[in-house]
Symmetry: C2
Subunit: 337 residues, 2 copies
C-alpha cells in the first residue's frame, strides 16, 4: 500500500519502516553495501575491514530511569557496531537543539555521553551543532555515527545463519521500553523499572572469543525481540522456532505490559542482543555470556529449524499453543530511542 504522508509507524522499526526502506530508499541508494541490510555497513579500506553505522536519537523524555538521550546515543551506536562483530573505535555526534533548550540539561547530556563513551572504550572525534527556532524541534535530537574495526574471521551476517543454529538472548527483554512508558508524563505509572541501556562491546568480544562459529548478532531495539527475529528470519529465509517460556522477562515489565495491553516481545531494548551460533558451541557461548555483567540472565530462546521460503518465526507459547511472530504493523511506543 502507498502512503501519501509519513506516519509514526514509518519510524517504528516494524512493517512500515521495513517497507519504507525497501521501496523508497533501497531502489535509489542501491549498492552492495546497503543491500546487506544489517545494523552497520562493512567496508573494505586498504587491508582493513571496517564497520560504519548511524542512528538518530529522538527519545522522549530525554532523561529517563536508567539513562538519558546522551548515554543512549552512545550505547545504541556502539551496539550497532558491536553486533556486526566490530570493535567500536570512533563516534561522531550531531546535535539538533531547540532554541531555548536548557544549557544545564545540555551539559548533563554531554557529560553523560562522555562517560558512556569512556565506559564503552570509544572516542567522540568529530561533531556538529545546529540550533532551530523554538517549536521547530522538540528539545534535543542527537545523531551518532560510528566506525569500528572487524577482527573476527567469520562473516557475521544473516546470510551466515544455518539450520541448527541456536538463538541466545543476553537477558530480560522490554526493560527500556517499559521504563520509557512509565516515565511518560500523564501515564501516572510508578515503577522501579530501569532502562537496560548499556554498551555491549565487551560482552560481544567475550562472545566472539568463546566461539569461531558465531553466525549472526543483532541488537533488539525498536520493535523489540519479536521484530528483530521476524526481520532476521526474512533475511536468512529460515524458520526460527522460539520458546516463550525461555524468554527472560522481569515481572514488573510483564505487569506494565498487561496494564497497557502490550506484548514484551515487541517492546524496545537498548542493551539486549540476540546471538545465532552453531549448536555445538551454544553451551560455551552461553557460559561466557553469563559471566559478563550484561549477560547474567542470558538464555537460549530458540533454534533455527530449516530454510523456509520467505522466512517465519513460530513461538511455542507458555500455554502450550503456537503463534506466528511477524513484524509489528503499528506504532507501539513513539520516540522510544
Amino acid at each position: 500500500m502507498d502512503y501519501e504522508k509519513i506516519l509514526l509507524s514509518h519510524g517504528a522499526g516494524g512493517f512500515l519502516s521495513s517497507e519504507l526502506i525497501a521501496r523508497k530508499f533501497l531502489p535509489l541508494f542501491s549498492n552492495s553495501y546497503l543491500k546487506r541490510m544489517e545494523d552497520s555497513a562493512v567496508l573494505a579500506i586498504g587491508k582493513n575491514r571496517l564497520c560504519f553505522t548511524t542512528d538518530s536519537y529522538v527519545v522522549n523524555p530525554i532523561f529517563f530511569p536508567g539513562g538519558d538521550i546522551g548515554s543512549l546515543a552512545v550505547h545504541g551506536t556502539v551496539n550497532d557496531l558491536s553486533v556486526c562483530g566490530a570493535k567500536p573505535l570512533f563516534l561522531s555526534t550531531g546535535f539538533i537543539l531547540e532554541e531555548g533548550f536548557s544549557m544545564t540539561d545540555l551539559e548533563k547530556i554531554i557529560k553523560s555521553m562522555a562517560d558512556a563513551a569512556k565506559k564503552a572504550g570509544v572516542k567522540i572525534v568529530t561533531g556538529d551543532t545546529k540550533v532551530v527556532a523554538k517549536g521547530a524541534a522538540d528539545k534535543i535530537f542527537i545523531n551518532t555515527s560510528g566506525v569500528g574495526a572487524i577482527e573476527y574471521k567469520g562473516n557475521i551476517s544473516t546470510s551466515s545463519i544455518m539450520p541448527g543454529d541456536v538463538v541466545i538472548v543476553n537477558g530480560t527483554i522490554g526493560d527500556h521500553g517499559a521504563a520509557i512508558l512509565c516515565s511518560r508524563e500523564g501515564l501516572g505509572l510508578k515503577s522501579e523499572i530501569l532502562s537496560d541501556s548499556a554498551p555491549l562491546a565487551s560482552l560481544v568480544q567475550k562472545i566472539l572469543k568463546a566461539s569461531p562459529n558465531i553466525h549472526c548478532m543483532r541488537d533488539a531495539t525498536r520493535g523489540g525481540l519479536g521484530a528483530i527475529l521476524a526481520e532476521i528470519s526474512k533475511q536468512s529465509k529460515t524458520l526460527i522456532n522460539v520458546d516463550e517460556a525461555a524468554i527472560p522477562v522481569r515481572d514488573e515489565v510483564r505487569g506494565i505490559c498487561e496494564i497497557l495491553g502490550l506484548d514484551p516481545l515487541y517492546i524496545a531494548n537498548e542493551g539486549k542482543l540476540v546471538v545465532f551460533c552453531a549448536e555445538k558451541d551454544a553451551a560455551k557461548v552461553l557460559k561466557a555470556m553469563k559471566k559478563h555483567a550484561y549477560g547474567k540472565n542470558a538464555a537460549i530462546v530458540g533454534k533455527v529449524e530449516k530454510k523456509s521460503g520467505a522466512g517465519r518465526v513460530i513461538m511455542k507459547t507458555v500455554i502450550g499453543g503456537s503463534r506466528e511472530i511477524d513484524l509489528p504493523t503499528g506504532e507501539l511506543v513513539p520516540r522510544i530511542c
Copy 2:
C-alpha cells in the same frame, strides 16, 4: 559570558558556536582527534589514514533555488571530507521526519541525495529513519556522516599554515545564503540567484595534484568566508591580510545584501572553499582551479603575513581603509544549512 539557554546564535558558526564547542564540548569529549578542530577527524586505522565527519542539515526551506536539503546533505559532508584532503568514499544518512511529511517530497529528496552521491562519487551505505509526532520537528532533518581516505602526503591542517602562504577562494561568495534568503516566504525578494551547493571532491583532487604544498583548506559554510578566515587565523595564530576588491561577489548577491544590510563576507556558501598554499605554487594552483567547473572564478584574495599571537584577519577595503574581520557575534540567517 554564560548563557542559561541555547540561542540561535549557538548554531550559527560564529562566536557563540565557537564558545559552545570550546567551553562545553571539548573539555568533556577531550581527545587528540577532536582537538584538531578541523572539519573532519583524521583517524589512523591499520596503515590507512581516514577522514570521518558529520553534519546535520536543517535548512529552511527544504527546496531552494539551486538545490534542496538532500543534495545539500550530500555536498556538505563530501566537502568536509574533501577539504581535509580525503577522497570521499562512504556516507551514512539519518533522517528525522515529522509525522505527516509528504511522501512525494521525501521521494524527491531521496532522489536528489542519490543523484548528488553519484555525481560526487560516494556511496550511501547505511542509514536510519526516525519519525516524530507532528509539531516535534519541522518537516525533515537529515544527518550525513562520511568516511574518506587520505592519500595526500602533506598534513592539511591549520597547523601547517605558514607566513607567506597565499589564500585562494574558488569563486563568488554568498550565493547560497542569498538564494536561501530570497526564497524565504514573506521576504518578497525576487532574484535569479542560485545556491552554489556543489560537491568539491574533484576540484580538491585537482588542487592537490597541482601542488605538494597545499597547507590548509576549509569550506566556507555557516558564517561565510569571514568567519572561516577568522577561525583559521585564530587556530593558526597568524595575521591574514585580505583584499576586499579581490573577493569575487556577484552583483545580485551584493544587491540583496545591501537591501538587507548584510555583509557578503558573512553569508554562507555551500560550494566554496579557501585554500592556503605556498606562494611559489599559487599560480599553478589557481590555474588548475580555473580549469574546473567549480573553480572558474577562483581568485587570490589574501596572504598570511606572520605569526601573530591570538590570530587576526585584516581586510583592505575597497575604499582604501582597513577593517578587522572577526567571528560574527549574532545569527545572520538561521537554518541556512
